[in-house]
Each structure stands twice: as C-alpha cells, then as structure tokens.
C-alpha cells in the first residue's frame, strides 16, 4: 500500500510542474521569456510516475517539451526559471534556454530541440553503463511524433539486440505539432511497434500517476534482470497547442474536455485523499509551499545577471 508521504511526493511533483508551467507562461506573456516554450500541461503524470520509479544513478533523456522531466528528476526550479530567462545562473548559463536544459548532476542528460534526437543518446548512455558493468537504467522520454522518426526504429533495434537497460517512454499526446496521430500512423497504438523488435511493450494511462509509476517500476526491474529494453506508451493529452503561441485550434473541444476530466492533477489529488488520507489542509500546505518556492524562483531568476559577452567568447574560443 502506498504511504501518505509517497503520494504527497508525487502530488508535490505534479503540482510543481503544473505551477511552473502556468507561472512561466505568465512570464512569457509579460515578455520576460522569449523564444519557444512547449508546456507540459496535461502530461505531468508521465514524467512524475516514471521518475519516481528511477534510482539516483539512473539517467533520463528529455525532449523539447521537457520542463516536466527536469522537475520530476529533481532539477532546481530557480535555476530552471533562470535558464528560461536567459540568465547566467540558469542550467546552461542562458545559452540553452527552454529546449536545452540538461543537468548531468541529477542524471538528466538533456532536453532536445530535435524531435527524436535524444533517443539514440539515451541508448548510448545505457550502452556505456552496461560496458562499465553498472546497475543503471536510462528512461528516454519521447513523443508520438518522434515515434515516426527513423531513429526510433533504429534505436529500439539497437537497444534490443544489445539487451540494454533502456525504458522507452513514449508520451503519446496524440499530436505531432498539429498533426493528429490518426493522420500519421495507421495503428495509433504505438506500443505495438515494439513487439516487432521483440521488446516488452505495453500502454498505460499516462494521466494516472500511480499506473505510470507501477509500469515504470516493472520496467526498471526488467532492465535490472538484463531483459531490457522496455517500451511504455503513456497515453496522454496536451492541455493546449504545441507551444505557447499556438492556440491549438485544431484540437477538438470534446476531446480536450474528455482529457481535462482525466486531469493528472485531479487524479493524483484523489489518490492522496483517498489512499493517503490526506486532509484538505495538508494538500493546501503542499501547494502553498510549492507556490512560495515558485515565487522565490522567479525572484531569483529576475535578479540574476546575464553572462558577460567576454565570458561567452572565452567559452566558445575553441569552437
């Protein structure tokens, strides 16, 4: 049975991602954040459930829609906001921005601006761990869009033939930018593709944090038994367009409503209340703490300096 503390941790993470995205979208609208910003709103349970199953030594590989993965893997939100604001105190000193946050210290090998680009990198991290004889798994987050890129097929095959400890986490949010999954795949159950490569594959309700968590725990165990890789297709839905400036007008209302009823935040809160027996006051306290941290993170980012041009020039001198 799940403890209140564990369920509260999950809820804290889901809520942090939710608040991070909504607050940063405000900063974007106010002009503090520029460039591309791909919110993870609606998909929070996938990163939260998977990362809860990972151990300290494990790696993750993230995507352009990567804020949730970073937070779930334990990134500091102040340094994340600072990166989004292009500040020197950000994870990439302001050189990377939203699509390139990486934090090797927490095993986060990096977000990626290229759809599918991180998949082979995760395979390589798993290969390295295997060659060194280390007990590590690599969770590779990628999307339904990336599943139609050649490197997905190649990498699934590589990981399979080399028995690598990889968890392919296919976040099927049903849209590749604006193209519906039904228009890009004959069979929208993408996990079935893994079977052709003799990879243990299944799908899970990606909005249900506990179901995702349980699936991921099972996958970690399979990898530890050297029977990896594993493919998990988490069915989920974006709460908006592809990025903050895309209103998502191509997404049918009824479908969005259906998934909003299955809001991962609501589901997680229900678990915390019903299984964890948390009181409304306890939940409010979690939320208040996260809000306070978020306010501090924004203050920190706004007050941080930009990198000096001279320091930048030094950094790229050898290029």
């Amino acid at each position: 049975m799940y403890t209140k503390a564990f369920l509260a941790d999950l809820y804290r993470t889901v809520y942090t991602i939710r608040l991070f995205e909504t607050e940063c979208i405000k900063l974007y609208r106010q002009g503090f954040i520029r460039g591309y910003f791909h919110p993870y709103l609606g998909e929070e349970a996938v990163a939260t459930g998977v990362c809860a199953a990972l151990r300290e030594n494990d790696y993750i590989v993230s995507t352009h829609r990567g804020h949730g993965h970073c937070i779930a893997r334990g990134a500091q939100i102040d340094r994340m906001v600072a990166e989004l604001l292009g500040k020197k105190t950000g994870y990439c000193k302001g050189l990377g921005g939203s699509m390139h946050i990486a934090d090797v210290a927490t095993g986060n090998l990096g977000a990626n601006g290229i759809v599918g680009g991180g998949i082979p990198i995760g395979v390589g991290a798993a290969l390295g761990a295997k060659l060194r004889g280390e007990d590590r798994v690599v969770a590779i987050f990628f999307s339904d869009g990336a599943a139609n890129n050649g490197v997905f097929a190649e990498s699934l095959n590589l990981a399979a033939v080399w028995n690598l400890p990889v968890i392919f986490v296919l976040e099927n949010n049903h849209y590749a930018v604006s193209t519906r999954i039904e228009d890009s795949s004959r069979n929208p159950d993408l996990y079935k593709r893994g079977r052709g490569y003799d990879v243990k594959s299944s799908s899970v309700d990606g909005n249900d944090v506990l179901k995702v968590y349980e699936k991921a725990v099972e996958a970690v165990t399979i990898c530890q038994q050297k029977k990896g890789p594993v493919l998990i297709e988490a069915k989920t839905f974006r709460h908006g367009g592809h990025h903050v400036n895309d209103p998502g007008s191509y997404m049918p209302e009824d479908r969005l409503l259906y998934f909003k009823k299955k809001d991962p935040l609501k589901i997680n809160r229900k678990y915390l209340t019903e299984i964890g027996q948390a009181t409304p006051a306890e939940i409010e306290e979690i939320e208040a703490n996260v809000s306070r941290q978020m306010e501090q993170a924004i203050e920190f980012a706004k007050n941080s300096k930009e990198i000096e041009i001279t320091e930048f020039v030094d950094l790229v001198r050898g290029y």
């Binding site: 994870y91 680009g117 990198i121 050649g150 490197v151 990498s155 590589l158």
Partner: protein, 344 residues
C-alpha cells in the same frame, strides 16, 4: 613519397627515436590498440569492424585483443549508433565510431551537428563529448558518386567539431591518439587511397597536437597548401617543379579545425606565392576560406593572386578516366604553380 633529408619537414623525429616503416592503416591500428590498452573507457563500434576488422583492416585484431564488449559490430543504423556514441561519451566513455564511408555520415548529421557539436555549448560548457568519428573519404578506385565524396567542408562549417585529415602514417597515428584523448567531438577523415601507403613511424609513444601544420617539403618560391591525399600529389608536383628550378614549399595543415593559420601565413610571407590544393569541389570549400585568410593577413606580401586547384563541380563519375579528370592531378598543380609565378 620519399623526402630527401634536406627537404624534410617538421615531422622528422627526434634523433633518439627509433622508427620503422608502417602502412597508414597499420599506424591507425597501432594508435587504437595503444589507447585501448591504456584506457578501458575506450570502445569502438561500426559496421563490420569486429570479426572482419573493417573494410580497410584498420581494426584488424582488435576484437581478439579487447573482446566483443569493446569492439562492437553495429547494425546498419548510422544515425543511431553515432547517437549512441554521443550518449556514451557524455556519460563517461570514450567511444570511437567508425562510419564506413564519409558519404554515410550524411545519415548521422543530426547526431553530429545538432547533438555532438552543441552539447558542450548548450550545457554552458559543462558537458563534454569525447567522441571520435573515424570515417573514410575521397576519390579513388571507381567507387562512384555515393562512395567517393570529399565532404570536409560540411564539418568545417560547424562550430564545436574538430576536423582531422592526416596524409602520412606518422601523422595518422599521432593525430588519432590526440583525437582519442580530446574532450571534444572529432571528425577524423582517412583517405581511401592512403591506407596502403607507407611511412616511418617511431616506436616510441608520441602525439601530434591539433592545430599544428607540418611543412612536408621546405621551399622558397611558392607555398603549396594541401591535405590528405593531395599531399602526395603536391609533393610529386614539387619534385617535378624542382627540375625546373622552382622550389615549392608543401604545407599540410593536418587539422582543418583548429587550423594553423599562423604557419600558413608565415610560409606565404616567405614565398610570396600561394597555391591551395583540395580534392573537394571548389564551391564553398575549405580552400576558399584559407585563401580568404591569406589575403586578409598577408595581402601585401603576395606577388600574384592566390590559386585554388580543386575538384570539378560534379558528383564523382564511375568511369576511371572521368574520375581522374574531376580531381586535381599533379599536372594541374604544376600548371597552377607556374601561373602564380608568371612562368606559364
């Protein structure tokens, strides 16, 4: 390519060093073997490199010595096994990825250009990518349009990559060892016609720093700048020119990134004439960039416009007569030298 004692360049070895004659491919093999013996994080992967020992036998014997964990045959999935090299490199390994033909590196470009070349930058200088991509390129033996390209300019254009193009067994070994120890991604291009060439290689351990050109032949009348397989051709041209009392200096940058611009400029300042020879097509090539560097730094020393001898603007034809016609030959180099010296 014999060099006389007096004309020998900076690559001569120290007096104390013993040397023996090795083939280019064996010098590379020795570099791989020595580095793998030293550092257990080094492993090699590519197509047909293990049991088969590679198309050009560069990895022959490595499987036997280091086992299948460190010498890995891959499926034909260039983008993903190159990407796997990136992933292994950023997490503590030193992978060497072999891409059978440089033409096939085009399948890896996202992983090389968007991932490997940018990882250090995008992590604010924190992440390192000690990855070597060894590949084989250039014209020769009638391998036709998709197995004969000289694509160094593609990689030259991308910040964050080192670019190495050795011309001798000595350089090949010393530069490959440096490449393997580099913390930056390195594109290491071996010319298909050089694998069987021979040269002196010291028995002692040695390294060649990146960004140090080598004068392959000292001369005073004209500077011939060339790399990879254009070096033996430039040296042969230089010997013919010597018979006509034209004393050509042959400079090999050895690494195009970093490029030893100081040595190039110093040589041209001395000879006051420059001819740049590249096998790749002229348009958008490295030679054009070197030419621009020379004119901007030593314009006042030049006695003639800089000549570029380059490949024709065409895919490489299969027909052998046409194949030779598309890339610079000895006679083309000789004519260009005479033009800059106004002796044509």
């Amino acid at each position: 390519m014999e060099m006389t004692e007096t004309k020998r360049g900076a690559s001569e070895f120290t007096d104390s060093s013993e040397s023996r004659t090795l083939m280019f491919r064996d010098a590379l093999n020795e570099a791989l073997r020595e580095e793998m013996q030293r550092d257990a994080t080094i492993f090699i992967m590519g197509e047909g490199i293990a049991e088969r020992g590679g198309s050009y036998k560069v990895t022959a014997g490595l499987l036997k010595e280091f086992g299948p964990k460190r010498v890995i045959d891959t499926p034909i999935a260039e983008a993903s096994f190159t990407g796997a090299g990136v992933g292994a490199a950023i997490t503590g390994m030193r992978p060497i990825v072999e891409i059978l033909f440089i033409d096939f590196t085009l399948l890896t470009l996202d992983q090389v250009v968007n991932q490997a070349a940018k990882y250090n930058f995008m992590t604010g200088g924190v992440g390192q990518v000690p990855l070597v991509i060894r590949t084989q390129g250039g014209v020769g033996n009638g391998l036709a349009a998709q197995h004969s390209q000289s694509l160094e300019a593609l990689f030259y254009h991308v910040p964050g990559l080192k670019l190495v193009m050795p011309s001798t067994p000595y350089d090949a070994k010393g530069l490959l060892k440096t490449a393997i120890r580099s913390d930056s991604p390195v594109i290491f291009i071996e010319h298909k016609l050089l694998y069987m060439t021979k040269g002196a290689v010291p028995t002692d351990d040695y390294f060649i720093e990146f960004g140090q050109a080598d004068i392959k032949r000292r001369g005073s009348d004209v500077t011939l700048i060339a790399w990879s397989n254009m070096i033996p051709r430039a040296l042969a041209a230089a010997e013919k020119l010597a018979e006509e009392n034209i004393d050509a200096e042959v400079l090999d940058p050895r690494t195009l990134v970093p490029l030893d611009t100081d040595s190039i400029v110093e040589s041209v300042r001395k000879t006051e004439h420059a001819v740049i020879v590249q096998e790749a097509i002229r348009r958008g090539g490295v030679a054009s960039d070197i030419s621009s560097i020379i004119q901007s730094r030593v314009f006042d020393y030049l006695n003639a416009p800089i000549e570029i001898v380059a490949g024709m603007n065409t895919p490489i034809p299969f027909n052998l007569t046409l194949e030779s016609a598309t890339v610079p030959q000895e006679a083309d180099i000789i004519q260009a030298v005479k033009r800059v010296l106004y002796k044509a």
